[in-house]
């Protein structure tokens, strides 16, 4: 083949390659009406992205989105971990981009910069998520032997009571929640209780099942005082345990309950 022909083929090949590359994405994660789609019909729709503080001076985003990657059983999302190829999530993230990767190869499938969809007039609200090291080392262990993803069920059920902050560390997934009020019985009028949870998994994985740990911070407050304090009040501790039991039962039945 002569040199001009080779040059022509090189130009055509390079041009074709460049055309096939995805165009640079605009900063549209903040717009809830915009969907990301491409040749593989993948869709990511950010429903809301609101700046919050998870501790004083520690900003994050409260994020909600729907996504679908047809033909893929699982995808990996930064901060959240490996999740099914289609779903809807709502959680708190410290990430500045929402990144979907192929679960096995790590190839980037979608990358969206995160920005506010709602600008709060005043300072962003404090959505306190206790750091992992503030949770007591004592934990309760539960077995997850269901075919559904624990992460997916947790997202559905935790979202009814808390906001949660998922993160990964050394092949472990941690879901740290905000505080939620407890329904107390057998305590004097004016006493309040609240609980925050840290779910971590997987532990002792064997085929089809593994354990997950639940650690809890239980605090006591008063209706006429501002601050909540760690408690040893047996009634409040018992209410927190009951709440955790009900939450886990709800997670295990969440898939069955859905139509």
């Amino acid at each position: 083949m002569c040199i001009p022909a080779r040059l022509f083929m090189l130009v055509v090949f390079t041009g074709t390659f460049l055309v096939q590359q995805p165009l640079p994405r605009s900063n549209n994660a903040g717009n809830p009406s915009i969907s990301e789609s491409s040749a593989d019909r993948a869709t990511v729709k950010v429903k809301s992205c609101v700046k919050v503080f998870i501790a004083r001076g520690d900003p994050a985003y409260s994020l909600a989105y729907d996504y679908e990657f047809p033909g893929r059983a699982f995808v990996h999302v930064n901060g959240l971990g490996t999740i099914p190829g289609k779903g809807s999530y709502r959680y708190i993230t410290r990430e500045r981009t929402l990144e979907f990767r192929d679960a096995s190869t790590g190839q980037i499938l979608r990358q969206l910069p995160l920005g506010d969809t709602v600008i709060v007039a005043a300072k962003p609200p404090l959505t306190e998520v206790p750091p992992d090291n503030q949770f007591p080392s004592a934990y309760r262990s539960f077995v997850w032997d269901l075919p559904q993803s624990l992460k997916e069920c947790a997202n559905t059920v935790l979202g009814r009571y808390f906001r949660y902050y998922p993160h990964e560390d050394k092949d472990m997934t941690f879901l740290a929640t905000t505080f939620t009020p407890l329904q107390l019985r057998g305590v004097p009028t004016g006493v309040l209780g609240q609980v925050a949870l840290l779910l971590s998994f997987p532990y002792d994985p064997v085929t089809g099942k593994y354990s997950f740990h639940v650690q809890a911070i239980v605090r006591e407050g008063r209706t006429l005082s501002d601050d909540f304090r760690p408690t040893s009040n047996p009634s409040i501790i018992r209410s927190a345990d009951t709440f955790v039991d009900a939450l886990i039962a709800e997670m295990k039945h969440s898939e069955k309950d859905e139509p």
Partner: protein, 148 residues
């Protein structure tokens, strides 16, 4: 209205307001942390200490030296102003004690700002009725050079 009746009336308003507020706080003390309860009581006593100190001091120091009766309009004006000042505090304290949820810290801030900021309402009345410098001349006697 006699001077003594006006004095005891003003003292009664201060004392009754203080007792009402203390009762409110004692009734709901289980609904706040002990430190907040102590802080509230101390702040309330601190606010009333200035007024009640003058009132009691005036009453005890002049008990054997009664002054002539002031005009009724002055008495009623003083009563109204003192009642108004106390209502500002009693109203907030009562709403605090019946609220489903409130903040003792906010109430202490309220006492700090409103209690001291509105003290001008009572300062004049308390000084007039319980201070030593004011003498009421009899109604039909004009003050002459000797009265200076």
């Amino acid at each position: 209205m006699t001077m003594n009746r006006a004095r005891y009336g003003l003292m009664g308003i201060f004392a009754a307001s203080l007792v009402i507020q203390l009762t409110c706080f004692f009734v709901v003390r289980g609904r706040m942390w002990p430190e907040d309860f102590n802080g509230l009581i101390l702040k309330l006593l601190e606010i009333y200490s200035a007024q009640l100190g003058l009132v009691l001091g005036g009453i005890f120091s002049q008990i054997n030296n009664p002054r002539s009766d002031p005009p009724a309009a002055i008495c009623w004006t003083a009563m109204t102003l003192v009642t108004l000042w106390n209502l500002l505090l009693v109203g907030r304290s009562m709403s605090f004690s019946v609220a489903q949820q409130d903040s003792a810290t906010d109430l202490i801030k309220y006492f700090d700002t409103v209690g001291s900021g509105s003290a001008f309402l009572v300062a004049g009345a308390v000084a007039f009725f319980f201070g030593k410098g004011t003498e009421i001349a009899p109604a039909n006697v004009r003050p002459g050079p000797s009265s200076k």
